[in-house]
């Protein structure tokens, strides 16, 4: 094993307990099992400076130990990507929202300090919106360490985020007193690119006002400016949306020209019965709003995971009644998600977790189960026709009627899956294997080392739940690559990332992959 820098042995150790800890900027030996440095036990400053090939302090310390530090770096980056895909700062089955946010905040700081370019590059990956906004915020808050090209990445990602998230991000920047030149330019550019400023003014009034004030920007046009900052000045507006908002205060008909969320408030004010209101506002609703208010949603255009969540929210009787329709919609969504890869994966076996813990939490209700259900249909589409074997941990075999119940005997299910002799084995589970604990890892280890050393079968574990204590998604076995997953649609892309986690490819390949993704992302973002 190549040498790893250790703290110089000192004689003061006995007197000063802190002296036994490594100096800042020094790589510490990893825990026995993996190469990742165990930063959880170090004081914060030292955590932030350990194993960092990119920091000024780290450059000198790392000469001559390239291989190890590269592997550490690759592991750290994959760990961060897994977290950024799965963690949303919300409560999960086994950890509270506060634990999630605390854990995530640390991880962001750690990666930002140690791997700044990679941290920014994560914006180009399929990470979730919560983390994308967090990364943008962290990058904008630390302008001194900025690397070239960051601004374009941030701007491109902000353009993809839902506007309410961006306004919330601007609010957070304002609260933190971040008002550097780059921030102002990015906020102005984003505001200028909004397609309908009047709609934003009506729908995100507070957010828009705060953002304009914060960066000293001019409103898009004088009317919007008056609407926001001097609402009494005009008797009427030329712009239809602004005028509808004015009239909606006293005229019931006008509120049906407004966005749903704004109209809702006016409807309550006018005492309009909910049913009548929903009936008439229906054409103004977005797709998600229609789904939430249980208007006849168009199942044929919904993304796969969203559709799976919808199906799982229906009572059993209705699922049975609409079996044909729901199955067809799920299959169609899966085929769309599979795209050109459909039917190209050969024999596939899947172990899908429908244990009690897949019920998620009150804020992420049945999310892990919905991901598993989505993966089920997607894998069915990816596998060669008729060559797909799904195995639910509960032993049930009707995917439409799954519900979270029972323990997680992953080990025995994996054995059943291997019995079918698949080319690919995909495990979708939160990584808690409890009947008996650890058996899944043992089965996979023995099978890899004794029965399939040539790697005829590729195994991937996809985990929809972020584990706050490990700063990563929970793994089943070191020999099996694990990737975080939030939407079943991303399965194919995640399997690609997961290959880096096997440790056979190094940091250079990972950087090349990230560069490729960034390039592609920026190309798509450019008009």
């Amino acid at each position: 094993m190549p040498p790893v820098c250790r703290a110089a042995p000192t004689t003061t150790a006995a007197r000063n307990p802190l002296a036994v800890l490594p100096r800042p900027g020094v790589s510490v030996p990893g825990p026995a099992a993996g190469l990742r440095c165990d930063f959880r036990n170090l004081p914060l400053q030292q955590r932030l400076r350990c194993s960092r090939p990119h920091s000024p302090a780290g450059v000198h310390a790392h000469e001559g130990e390239g291989a190890v530090s590269e592997l550490v770096a690759a592991e750290d980056v994959l760990l961060f990507v897994n977290a950024a895909v799965t963690a949303t700062g919300q409560r999960e089955f086994r950890s509270s929202a506060a634990e999630q946010r605390f854990s995530l905040a640390f991880l962001h700081e750690y990666v930002r300090v140690n791997y700044r370019p990679v941290y920014a590059a994560a914006l180009a990956l399929d990470i979730n919106d919560h983390n994308a906004a967090l990364i943008a915020e962290h990058l904008l808050r630390t302008p001194k360490e900025a690397e070239p090209g960051e601004g374009r990445l941030i701007a491109a990602r902000l353009a993809l985020l839902p506007p309410q998230r961006v306004y919330r991000l601007f609010g957070a920047l304002r609260a933190a007193g971040v008002n550097n030149r780059r921030t102002r330019a990015i906020v102005r550019a984003w505001l200028a690119a909004r397609p309908d400023p009047a709609l934003d003014a009506v729908k995100y009034r507070t957010g828009l006002k705060a953002a304009l004030r914060h960066v000293h920007a001019r409103p898009a046009d004088p009317e919007t400016g008056d609407f926001l900052f001097a609402p009494g000045r005009r008797v009427r507006y030329e712009n239809a949306t602004l005028d509808a908002h004015r009239r909606a205060h006293y005229e019931q008909g006008a509120l049906y020209e407004l966005p749903f969320t704004v109209a809702e408030g006016f409807a309550a004010k006018h005492g309009i019965p909910r049913a009548v209101f929903l009936e008439r506002i229906a054409p103004r609703m977005t797709r998600l709003e229609r789904l939430r208010t249980d208007r006849a949603a168009d199942l044929s255009v919904m993304p796969l995971t969203r559709l799976a969540l919808y199906v799982l929210a229906l009572p059993f009787a209705e699922r049975v009644e609409r079996r044909a329709e729901l199955t067809a919609a799920l299959r169609a969504a899966a085929r769309r998600a599979a795209g050109p890869y459909a039917g190209s994966w050969g024999r596939v076996a899947a172990v899908l977790d429908d244990s009690f813990s897949s019920s998620g939490s009150a804020v992420k209700r049945r999310r892990p189960l919905a991901v598993a259900l989505g993966c089920h249909f997607l894998l069915e589409a990816l596998a060669s026709p008729g060559a797909y074997t799904p195995l639910w941990t509960s032993g049930r075999d009707d995917p439409l009627l799954v519900h979270p119940y029972g323990p997680t005997p992953l080990g025995l299910r994996i054995l059943d899956a291997l019995d079918t002799g698949p080319e690919r084995l995909v495990i979708v589970s939160d990584g808690w294997d409890n009947a008996p604990p650890g058996l899944a890892g043992e089965v996979l280890r023995v099978w890899r080392s004794r029965l399939d050393p040539e790697r005829a079968t590729s195994v991937v574990h996809l985990n929809p739940v972020y584990d706050t204590e490990g700063f990563d998604v929970r793994r089943l076995a070191p020999s099996v690559p694990t990737a975080g997953i939030r939407d079943a649609e991303d399965l194919a892309a995640l399997v690609e990332i997961a290959q880096f986690a096997e440790g056979r490819t190094g940091f250079a390949e990972l950087r090349a992959y990230l560069d490729r993704r960034v390039e592609q992302f920026l190309k798509e973002a450019a008009p």
Partner: protein, 383 residues
């Protein structure tokens, strides 16, 4: 009957959360003819009784169970818990709950309060009071109440980490029971006749009573390790998937054997003294007391409903702390010697002063006649 018979229950792999280890017990077949229902009292069953002299006796009863037995077994297949078709549960004022086991409505239904029966048994161990001084004792009891009857117990939600562990626990299909370990000390055993009953009664575990030992262990204990599976794959050991499957199943069996023989041994092998509290059709409701042996064995009090063969259909235990065991032991010895301190000292092979010290140390000082004891001690010193 001297032992608790957990026949028919299979141990499944444990689930660990922090310092709490939960071991599920699974039945292949539910016990026919007996169901348990939960009965919830209004206002959490808290009620107080004014005693007149500006003191009030307040008691808290989280829930009661209703046992329901039929000879036919037809009811055993019914899904879900029913309160015997009586509609909404009615409020039962606490002052009328003087009998802990009580026949309700129809002939085949018995309401009893979990653990109260057994706690009563433990507390009332000899508290008919010493027979030799019955007059004094009864006068004192009327005037001041039964002082040794105060025992500390904690509700489940006051035991750190227990509520969370019960929430994330994943029930097994067919699960009819649970062994609850805190810092790997058996805190409580809970067995019901039917899996559907268990599903509905699982949340009641957090409202139950636990001894002070359990509370302390949960506070000061560290997280316990999980017994993770290990497959030995030495040279040539595993040649195919069939071998691997056999090894995996062996792991499961090994855990069950290790658990039953090691962790639950004291519960299974200690001989208890059973006292039948109620007989209902083919079933009997017993409460049991441990032998109050000293020397490290864990001791439980509890209650059990057994079927004809003596196997536990319902079981609930309460772990005693060392102090409580010592107290029980002392009371037993005192009762054996008819509450004579001198003879007790002889039986224990120690001095009169030592016995007095131990009685006081056990919190039973109120039982002693201070004048007589002081006189005797003075005489001892002078002689």
């Amino acid at each position: 009957m001297t032992r608790i018979d957990l026949g028919g229950l299979v141990t499944r792999p444990a689930q660990v959360w922090g310092g709490v280890r939960l071991v599920p017990l699974v039945r292949d077949e539910p016990v026919p003819g007996l169901r348990l229902h939960r009965e919830v009292y209004e206002g959490w069953g808290a009620d107080s009784v004014a005693l007149g002299d500006r003191t009030a006796y307040t008691s808290y009863i989280p829930h009661g169970f209703v046992a329901d037995w039929t000879g036919t077994g037809a009811e055993a297949a019914a899904y879900g818990t029913r309160l015997g078709g009586e509609g909404e549960p009615t409020a039962v004022p606490v002052r009328r709950l003087h009998r802990m086991a009580k026949r309700r409505g129809r002939e085949d239904r018995l309401r009893f309060l979990p653990l109260h029966l057994a706690l009563e048994g433990y507390l009332a161990l000899h508290f008919g009071g010493p027979s030799v001084v019955w007059d004094d004792w009864s006068r004192e009891a009327l005037r001041r109440g039964l002082s040794p009857r105060a025992e500390a117990a904690y509700a489940g939600w006051a035991v750190p980490g227990l509520a969370e562990a019960l929430r994330v626990f994943e029930l097994h299909p067919g699960q009819c029971g649970l062994l609850l370990y805190v810092a790997d000390a058996l805190a409580s055993a809970f067995v019901v006749p039917h899996a559907d009953d268990y599903r509905l009664l699982h949340p009641t575990l957090v409202e139950d009573l636990y001894g002070e030992l359990v509370h302390q262990y949960a506070y000061y204990g560290a997280p316990v390790p999980e017994f993770t599976a290990r497959i030995r794959d030495g040279a040539g050991g595993i040649r195919g998937l069939a071998d691997l499957r056999a090894a995996a199943l062996e792991q499961e069996r090994a855990w069950a054997v290790a658990h039953d023989g090691l962790m639950a041994r004291d519960l299974r092998e200690t001989s208890y003294s059973f006292e039948r509290a109620y007989r209902m059709g083919p079933f009997s409701l017993y409460r049991f007391l441990p032998p109050f042996e000293r020397g490290g064995r864990e001791q439980h009090i509890g209650e059990v409903i057994t079927d004809r063969k003596g196997r536990a259909a319902y079981l609930k235990t309460f772990r005693l702390s060392e102090n409580q065991i010592r107290k029980g032991y002392l009371l037993n010895r005192l009762a054996d010697c008819d509450w004579h301190l001198g003879r007790t000292a002889e039986a224990l092979g120690t001095s009169y002063a030592e016995v007095v010290r131990r009685v006081r140390g056990a919190g039973l000082g109120g039982l002693l006649d201070a004048h007589a004891v002081a006189r005797r001690l003075r005489e001892d010193q002078e002689s």
